[in-house]
């Protein structure tokens, strides 16, 4: 049995450590450990609930809108605030563009290097690359001249001897299967996506002032609409947004989606690897009328799937969410064996691991700053795969069409989705759906404006004088990386309790009291290869397929958890 540690896992958000035991080229056991804690919820206590979006937004700068939105929803739920439709539609557009942009960055800049051998691209024939690209897509850049240029840039870069971010990659690893031409095409699009992502995200800048960390507002959005104004959302800014939406869709339709299917066709063996936890949870997202409380208006449905059974989708009920800490560096007042609902959740950080520098965490009873969320006492995978499975199993027409296209092109059945490759493909499918849908939401906003309904903000419950003495709220969001929930309690105008249950907490969760592993761990133990323990490329493939966001995953603290317990280092 070989012990392998990968720390840091790079090309993710935050700090993640993976340990595995491997034997005969297969992974037998796995531990996922988050190695950062920040404690944002305790900081929220005693503060104005209207400020909470800004604090929680700083949980993550990659999925930079999602906590802010979930927080606004939680506070609005508590205080009974309805956001006007135009304000709600602006939020839908902001969140939709966030997800599209985030997924594309993930594919090209965080995940692609697991499948694409940059050095191999030097051997490509640019003419053959152009033919390959043209056979996949009408994208205008697909010429021999263009690929020659990219290859020359790459060549002089490699010749420089200063490889920068590409230094020490696992280039030449036998698990890389793409022909040189496909590698060159992907490298070219890696570079193009860098330009594309900074262009289309300017939708956030127009509606919300900047990106990362755009500005939100409890009760709506701060960007007023006045078609005749010079310092507001007007005809000029709307037309810019329309153009960005078009460019977003074209890139996804003509670059990302064709690239994804082309790359996937060389890695079909990965449709049998890395499934893991067979349960999937989605909370529903993208209110098409701007009202997130209206389940009917959600573009993507909510629901829960158990045991890979696509014939049954169970309705989601937030009361069934609970968190364990038996393998996490926290205490509960009632001991380590209980699970608590977030509305009464508590977090008392208590490090009991070994003294650094660590060699191994495996074997430790507690080994991570992640809690272990469970739904109906079962571990759940969340994220694009969960959403696509729930939508597919619910008969969502657009999803059935796009997922069906992918399955058909790859000549595999729906069971192939329960895998590392399925996870990566589902993210692309969702991006395609959303990139196409942005135009619908834009049109809905413009229709509102045309009819004179330009209100973006509700003043009714803005003043704390109008609030009840105590209130409690729940805000959910179908964030890029999966189901997100914020729970807030407000008393006498201040926050008294705040909890988040976050996508990466679900996916990176450790073992629970029943010994059930979380999705990362289970996926690494599901028919998972590891050819060369010194170059653990396969581990990166599966972990990156989840798109980890560690800063998001570690959170919590409540009124009782205020005292930071001193570390007790094991001797």
């Amino acid at each position: 049995m070989t012990k392998v540690v990968v720390d840091p896992i790079t090309r993710i958000e935050g700090h993640l450590r993976i340990e595995v035991e491997a034997d005969g080229g297969r992974i037998k056991n796995a531990w996922a450990s988050s190695t950062q804690f920040r404690g944002i919820e305790i900081i929220l206590e005693g503060r104005d609930p209207r400020d909470a979006w800004a604090f929680t937004q700083r949980i993550c700068g990659v999925c930079t809108t999602v906590h802010a939105l979930a927080s606004c929803r939680a506070v609005e739920d508590a205080l009974g605030i309805d956001v006007p439709p135009a304000g709600g539609l602006i939020r839908t557009l902001v969140h939709g563009m966030q997800t599209v942009q985030d997924h594309v960055i993930h594919f090209y800049h965080l995940h692609a290097l697991d499948w694409v051998d940059v050095v191999s691209a030097l051997k490509a024939d640019p003419g053959a690359t152009a033919n390959l690209a043209a056979s996949l897509s009408p994208w205008p850049n697909n010429s021999k001249t263009y690929f020659t240029e990219v290859q020359n840039r790459l060549k002089s870069f490699v010749d420089s001897g200063q490889l920068g971010i590409f230094a020490n990659g696992y280039w030449g690893h036998p698990a890389y299967k793409l022909p040189p031409e496909a590698n060159l095409m992907a490298v070219a699009h890696y570079l193009e996506a860098l330009d594309w992502q900074r262009d289309v995200i300017r939708l956030h800048t127009i509606f919300a002032g900047k990106n990362p960390h755009p500005n939100f507002l409890v009760g709506g959005m701060a960007s007023a609409i006045n078609l005749d104004g010079t310092a507001t959302i007007n005809a000029e800014s709307l037309s810019k947004i329309r153009d960005m939406i078009t460019r977003a869709r074209l890139f996804v339709e003509q670059v990302y989606w064709p690239d994804l299917l082309a790359v996937a066709s060389f890695y079909k063996d990965w449709a049998k690897i890395g499934g893991g936890v067979p349960n999937y949870l989605a909370v529903g997202e993208y209110p098409e009328n701007g009202n997130w409380r209206d389940a009917e208006s959600m573009y993507l449905p909510s629901g829960v799937i158990f045991d890979n059974d696509l014939s049954t989708v169970v309705p989601y009920d937030q009361e069934k969410v609970k968190e364990y800490i038996n393998a996490s560096w926290y205490d509960y007042k009632e001991g380590d064996k209980v699970a608590l609902h977030p509305s009464v959740g508590e977090t008392i950080p208590h490090y009991t691991g070994p003294e650094p520098p660590w060699t191994y965490l495996q074997g430790e009873e507690k080994y991570t700053w992640m809690k272990a969320p469970r739904y109906d006492d079962k571990p759940m995978e969340v994220g694009p795969l969960a959403r696509m499975l729930v939508a597919y199993a619910s008969g969502h027409a657009d999803t059935k069409e796009v997922v069906g296209e992918a399955l058909g092109r790859l000549q595999v059945g729906p069971a192939a989705l329960f895998s590392t490759l399925g996870r990566t493909a589902a993210r692309g499918a969702e991006t395609l759906l959303l990139a196409r849908r942005l135009e619908t939401w834009y049109d809905a906003l413009v229709t509102r404006i045309k009819s004179g309904d330009t209100a973006t903000f509700s003043q009714k419950r803005w003043s704390p004088d109008t609030w009840p003495a105590s209130a409690e709220g729940y805000g959910f969001l179908g964030a890029a990386r999966g189901a997100l929930g914020h729970w807030v309690k407000i008393q006498d105008g201040k926050i008294v309790h705040y909890q988040c249950v976050v996508p990466s907490t679900w996916n990176c969760s450790p073992r629970d009291v029943h010994g059930a592993t979380g999705p990362y761990e289970a996926a690494l133990m599901d028919n998972h290869p590891l050819a060369d323990p010194k170059r653990p490329l396969e581990i990166l493939r599966t972990i990156h397929s989840f798109d980890p966001c560690m800063a998001c995953g570690v959170h919590v603290l409540d009124a009782q958890g205020r005292e930071v317990t001193q570390v007790r280092v094991k001797g």
């Binding site: 990659v62 420089s160 973006t456 010194k534 570390v567």
Partner: protein, 389 residues
Amino acid sequence: MFFPSSYPWTENETLGEHLERRGVSRRAFLKYCGELAVVLGVSQALTPQIAEALQKVRRPSVIWLQLQECTGCVESTLRTSDPTIGDLLLDLISLDFNDTLMAAAGDAAEGAMQTAMKENAGKYILIVTGSVPLAADGMYLTMGGRRGRDVLEEAAANAGAVLAVGACAHFGSVQSAKPNPTGAVGVADIVKDKPVVTIAGCPPIADTITATVVHYLTFNRLPETDGEGRPLFAYGKRIHDQCSRRAHFDAGQYVEAFDDEGARNGWCLYEMGCKGPETFSPCPIFQWNSHTSWPIGSGHPCLGCTERNFWDTMTPFYNRLPAVAGFGVERNADHIGLALAGAAVAGVAAHAIATGIHRSKEGHTPHEPAVDLPVVETPAEKSKEERHD
């Protein structure tokens, strides 16, 4: 460079040779240097000197360390988009370690960092995003099984320059807000034997980061900074004094509620809690995401994110300034701004002294309070004060 988005600059050629090889004309290069002079706030007459200095520099190694943070600062840097600054500046460095973007992981990633530190000892630029948690014996952040603090100290020991990028590296940001459960502190609280330049903001505008790097390469020293270690070329002025809505403040035209008539006419957000009067930031001038807009420009009050402890001193965010903690006495915006401008000027002097100390290798504390130094008032600020009195 960060990415092979243009012709890479090889290790052994100067920038001048590199630009010649990639076919950049002398005229285009001088134009770029002229624009750079504007960004850096120096006279256009210095353009030839900037060009001459830049032509001689060699591509430096950059190690980017991410500590206790949210990755927003790296994301912001990815949005650097001015074609002139973006293309040339990203081409100016060799990014040898960056957690978010590098291909390698685990031991291979650690190896890349060790190699870069060894080969470029004393020369590499260390960019740090994120804070250092000191509570619980530093166990709230480990990387590669080591405490974040230890990783930072090792990386800083042989750095040629240290840039603390973002509010977390500046002072600890959101995780250091009361009651600071993890004992988070900024980089300058750990690295005390060399100057730390602070690119403030949550996150900062990427162009500020790249412009600071170029300043270092061009003039072979870090830019002049204020008492917080912030470069004056970017953080020398209050938002309030550069604001596109300033005329409405002077005319007494205020937004009284979000989405009211004032909001729909783009009036001043002071009444909605705008912290522009006490915030030193390049936001109104540089703007965000290819000069597309900026927070006040899109109707939301400034949160004051370039200022130390803004999560505590600027909150509640929607309260008008005089009600904000730290300002017990009712004062108008210009009074507050004036007091802070004075503090900033004093800070510059403090920094100058501290730099002198550094030169004599006796240590440097960029944010040391400058209590003994006189507050200098500019004539313009003085006249404002008189007018409002």
